[in-house]
Point group: C2
Chain length 293, copies 2
Amino acid sequence: MTQDMNLWISEHHEDYLIQQYRVEKTIFSGRSDFQKVDVVETRGHGKVLFIDGLTMISERDEFVYHDMIAHVPLFVHPDPKRVLVIGGGDGGTAREVLRHTTVERAVMVEIDGVVVNACKKYIPQTSCALEDPRLDLRIDDGVRFMAETDELFDVVIVDSTDPIGPAAPLFGEEFYRNVHRVLDEDGIAVAQGESSFYMVDEQKSILKSARAVFPKLHLYNYSNLTYPGGLWSFMFASKGLCPIKDFDPARVKASGLKFRYYNPALHQASFCLAQFQLDLLQDLLTELDVFAS
Amino acid sequence: MTQDMNLWISEHHEDYLIQQYRVEKTIFSGRSDFQKVDVVETRGHGKVLFIDGLTMISERDEFVYHDMIAHVPLFVHPDPKRVLVIGGGDGGTAREVLRHTTVERAVMVEIDGVVVNACKKYIPQTSCALEDPRLDLRIDDGVRFMAETDELFDVVIVDSTDPIGPAAPLFGEEFYRNVHRVLDEDGIAVAQGESSFYMVDEQKSILKSARAVFPKLHLYNYSNLTYPGGLWSFMFASKGLCPIKDFDPARVKASGLKFRYYNPALHQASFCLAQFQLDLLQDLLTELDVFAS
């Protein structure tokens, strides 16, 4: 990440793509034990959180990511009471999880207190629910927490960066064995699932890790404004529940919740993958016949 | 569009976003009567066609755009024999249209011969079907052609740039009156429909123009790698056919055609809009109850 004289901030993807945002001012810039953390006020996207030079969230489009990572599993599970979030230091995932009144207890394990504190101070839009009394926020290593806890959860959400630095083990099979272990019988795990365009190896890696452990595995898409390539995905792994057959659209309406990206038709549509995604991933995914016409 | 010493080519969106591609070499650079035309060999996206500094197509992802602009209307119309393409100088839309063996005659009206010749010479991936004997390729003003022709068509496809320069009238009501006039009774018109993130005014403008004329109006999404913001849309206007209720997935399989982006489930899913799109556009669109759950 570089910031030049004309006040642009640049995100590099491989050696062939750069995305630049116009900077109004740098609000916070720090280096934690794990990574570089920057919060920048931009002209077009509000405040943007960068970790190691990669865009994590922008105020303009974070609703897309957080709607889709939280509401898809929480509306498939019949009665989500106990939710575990690994990562998600900006607070946006916890914010959306806690809008569900069924949720009695949410545990959020974020390795980097610098991210949490920067977002608490400078990005209230995402961090606004971190003081909710139902939330048990721990600054701790999610991999270790997952290996050691004996709590059971209905939904586990892995809200991680790409598999570099402290997030790398979150893409491994050992981690997913523990995700499976801490999930109760109707359990669902959802994870940031990378991009079928630019991040194919990373996407296959996480799907293989989960497929080694979970009997049901799906991928669903969302269109993010600030991640390279636009088409990004979440992984949906479960002990048995199907995100289409076990989804009751009436529950969304009955919840009374309003969303900016999510709705029941989009829930179902997001699991319909492009043909090149199917060609690439069909051996790793299950129940693709749900969509066969 | 600028090209600096480090061989990057930059596309600017408003005054707050820049996307840069790593350049291997510039293959063609010219100025026609209408616009600046560049073909660049990039490191990550193959050959990229720029018009007035905006990315039109890249070899890496053009299949997304061309699959969705062509196959959605051609698989909804029960027997598409006569197809009119306005614009589409790179040839990719004509290429996909002509894969349908039902099509007996396709007319393509592109205003800029420089674009067509550059693509014929340097981008055979998209221009490879421009010599098909069923194709009547005319270098002419699409607005004038539409006003003057007395031919009838089953499907009209408006494959245009953003509403600047020669493409501006393609977003107006007068143009859509003529699109309606040249369509036979089951007629469908599809058009490049801009982005609900970054191009809201342009998207509303084209929808309003079509809505003034057509009784049925839908929007469907696709995820493009190289257009700013990823989530882009096509407009679907018809004299009566519904892209969901009148779509028979079995016809896709029966066609024997293979696709990299399009498939029957995705056809249906692409019409399921995000909630912020519905909130923004619902007064302009029709039959949204098709997706109500």
